[in-house]
């Protein structure tokens, strides 16, 4: 409270001064002018118009005479209170104004962005425009994996009237078992959730039937679904996506970023959940994923899978691999793996075991050691070797190890040609032995062993090829015929393909082209190449390998009317005890045949391997288990690719 100032100028009041003061107070309270007080005085004294007029004049005169003094007195008398009130008012107003300014700064500057965004969020909704995932085609443009819209059923538990009954009805229609139905009932009873999937990607007819019931809280939504066409052909390389459409395995994983594209974004203004026409605009347009055109031929893939599966079943084998390559480009025309499951049923695998699993190649490796020996100039096909029936490493030591040829024989003169045709382990070891381990290692590395291919396929194995200095004892001899290093089936066929391709290694390929968002097709770069052996050496090897098929261990790979070159391999599998014989003295086999045709101008290279064929069967070797499948796949490839024999080629001589 502001203390009132004393009123030293206060004087005794006369009647006039009292009237004037009263008039002044009245005027002050009412906020009107002095003329108003004059009118008030006049109205009180007037009895007639003239009287009123006179009184008005008198009053006006009185007022004019008295006002300066009365007003001065009034001002003096109330000056302390008015100033105080004014100061109070001014102070409060200032504070309010400051508060207003401060709040404005807080809202507009300090918190402006957040509040603006909040405001925008209230009236606008951002909608993701999903990019269409790229299609995967085979080499002829047939869809292998495609994304199509599919209906999913969902529920809003808050709108479900009777969760148990609803779950029962849905369970009956969707074929749920009791556990699934109970789980659905639990989900529908959860009032905190506003969205739960009932079942994703439901058959259209079933979905229509469910939705026709108009169950409260049950709805359907269209979602993109990845579909593998053709019953899942080539799933081993295509791979799979997860339920949300993201690549999980195979090429779907390897090329996920390319296939996925880029989602777009659209803004729509909405009022109470309803979009307002004319208010939507696209922030960023979705960019569709790139399509992949595989090197695989769908028809050849199907026939390869079926032929391999049939052979695995015939031989009660554990599994097998089959690959067909375009010799000149390294393009994989088909690739299949079969594996017998725990239930005893053999089936096409979803995993690319041909690129993932490695094993000792066995006698197929003779192709590389003999090629190396010929290419380095230390031997020739007609050179004769005195080949014993067996050979013992480190005799008299704890590392003593004896090897034998597949068939018993005494010391026998054999040409290099016969060594390969008859698949002599010891003869091959003798030929490659002159080469020396370091050089043999370098050749094997050049053939692609011990390192990953350019495929960069998820989970691909590099196999094992140790440095030559790490080859111990018998390995210096056995590696020449396929024991002591390991390779995948894909590495093995690529290496043989180098011989077929006139001595030039070409990296295998799964993807032939891509189709960008504008629909333009782009060929992928050719697989990298490098020369492994000379063209002359390759031609010599092709001739020797033709002999293997016509008169050696691979006769069951012959095809009427066209020359075929190839090599058998029967590898012993390492057992759980770390040796090549199980505790009961039995062996397990890995039977392989790799070849190419036509021998003079190879166009196609094929590998077939059978994992653990029935060990009691005569058809447990590369030449008996795998070669017949090779022959049937060769005929299939001839039909599919319209391959003609080279002029003068009539295949193996009759009786050969």
């Amino acid at each position: 409270m502001t203390p009132r100032k004393p009123a030293p100028t206060r004087t005794p009041r006369t009647a006039a001064s009292k009237r004037s003061a009263a008039t002044s107070r009245t005027s002050s309270r009412s906020g009107s002018s002095r003329s108003a007080s004059s009118r008030s005085a006049g109205s009180r004294s007037a009895s007639s118009r003239s009287t009123a007029s006179r009184a008005k004049k008198r009053s006006s005169v009185w007022s004019s005479r008295l006002e300066p003094r009365a007003a001065q007195e009034a001002r003096v008398w109330r000056s302390g209170t008015a100033r105080g009130r004014f100061r109070w008012f001014a102070g409060i107003a200032t504070c309010l104004f400051a508060l207003l300014i401060g709040w404005s700064v807080f809202v507009q500057v300090m918190n402006g962005g957040k509040l603006r965004a909040y405001g925008v969020a209230q009236r606008e909704s951002n909608i993701t425009i999903p990019a269409a995932r790229g299609t995967i085609f085979d080499r002829d443009g047939n869809e292998m994996a495609i994304t199509v819209p599919a209906l999913s059923l969902y529920a809003d538990p808050r709108a479900v009237l009777d969760p148990a009954a609803t779950a029962h009805v849905l369970g009956q229609m969707l074929g749920f078992d009791a556990a699934a139905e109970a789980e659905l009932a639990t989900k529908l009873a959860n009032q905190k959730q506003s969205f739960v999937y009932i079942q994703r990607f439901v058959n259209q007819d079933v979905a229509d039937a469910v939705l026709s019931l108009n169950l409260s809280g049950v709805n359907g939504v269209s979602e993109p679904k990845r579909v593998q066409v053709a019953g899942g052909l080539a799933t081993n390389i295509i791979g799979r996506t997860d339920p949300f459409g993201t690549g999980a395995t195979g090429l779907e994983l390897q090329y996920d970023k390319v296939l996925a594209g880029v989602d777009g974004e659209m803004v729509k203004q909405a009022a109470r959940g309803r979009s307002l026409p004319g208010t939507s605009h696209i922030l960023s347009q979705a960019r569709p994923g790139t399509d992949l055109v595989l090197t695989v031929d769908r028809s050849m893939q199907f026939q390869t899978e079926q032929a391999l599966l049939a052979r695995v079943n015939e031989l009660s084998a554990k599994g097998g691999n089959a690959i067909i390559l375009d010799t000149k480009t390294g393009e994989v025309l088909s690739i299949a793996s079969v594996r017998r499951g725990d239930d005893g049923v053999a089936a096409i695998t979803a995993g690319n075991l041909a690129a993932v699993e490695s094993y000792e190649p066995g006698s197929v490796a003779k192709v590389f050691s003999v090629s190396a020996a010929i290419d380095s100039g230390i031997t020739s096909p007609d050179r004769v070797y005195e080949v014993p029936g067996s050979h013992t490493f480190d005799p008299g030591t704890e590392f003593e190890y004896t090897i034998k040829d597949a068939y018993p024989h005494e010391l026998e003169p054999m040409t290099l040609r016969n060594i390969l045709i008859d698949s002599s382990n010891i003869g091959t070891m003798m030929a490659a032995g002159e080469l020396g381990s370091p050089k043999l290692h370098d050749y094997l590395a050049s053939f692609g062993f011990g390192k990953l291919s350019e495929l960069d396929f998820p989970g691909e194995s590099a196999g094992i090829l140790k440095a030559a200095v790490d080859w111990k004892g018998s390995q210096n001899g056995t590696i020449a015929y396929g024991y002591g290093f390991s390779s995948t089936s894909l590495q093995l066929i690529s290496a043989v393909n180098a011989v077929a391709n006139k001595g030039v290694y070409v990296s295998p390929k799964f993807v032939r082209a891509t189709i960008d968002e504008k629909g333009s097709k782009w060929e992928t770069p050719a697989g990298s190449t490098h020369r492994v052996i000379s063209e002359e050496s390759a031609a010599t090897m092709a001739d020797l390998l033709t002999g293997v098929v016509c008169e050696g261990t691979g006769t069951r790979a012959q095809v009427n009317g066209i020359s075929v070159a190839g090599k058998t391999g029967t590898g012993y599998k390492i057992q759980a005890n770390g040796t090549y014989k199980s505790d009961d003295g039995l062996r397990s086999y890995f039977a392989t045949f790799v070849g190419f045709f036509p021998s003079k101008d190879p166009q196609v290279t094929i590998l077939v391997s059978i994992d653990e064929p029935d060990r009691s069967s005569r058809d447990r070797f590369g030449g008996t288990a795998a070669a017949p499948v090779f022959a049937s796949l060769t005929q299939m490839a001839i039909h599919e690719l319209a391959i003609q024999p080279t002029p003068g080629d009539t295949g193996c001589p009759v009786g050969g």
């Binding site: 425009i129 269409a132 002829d140 443009g141 594209g261 004319g278 968002e517 009427n560 005929q635």
Partner: protein
């Protein structure tokens, strides 16, 4: 008044655009569904089943038959020449697919 008319026209046009875009999306979905159906019909397993049902069996063996060049020449003469334009017609389904993709892209 002009502003009201202008705003109404904008809203009207936007409604048309929305309708056309939803038609495009529906047609694109239909196009994908037809591609899937076409591909399923060409599925090798289905073709084998159909062929087997018709009594067909896989080819057994391969034979290459050499044709006398004179016979080839006589056939060419009797059937007339082949219009090179016909030979250059592309039936690559990827060409058609690329054209469609470039047109519809990924419109919402």
């Amino acid at each position: 008044m002009l502003v009201v008319v202008f705003q109404t026209r904008i809203a009207e046009t936007q409604l048309k655009i929305d309708k056309i875009e939803s038609q495009i999306a529906a047609e694109r979905d239909r196009y994908d569904a037809l591609r899937l159906e076409r591909s399923s019909l060409r599925e090798p397993a289905r073709l084998v089943a159909e062929a087997t049902a018709m009594g067909m069996i896989p080819g057994n063996g391969t034979d290459f038959v050499s044709v006398d060049p004179l016979t080839v020449a006589q056939v060419l003469v009797s059937t007339g020449g082949v219009d090179p334009a016909l030979l250059s017609v592309s039936h690559d389904p990827l060409v058609n697919y690329g054209a469609v993709k470039s047109t519809i892209g990924d419109r919402p």
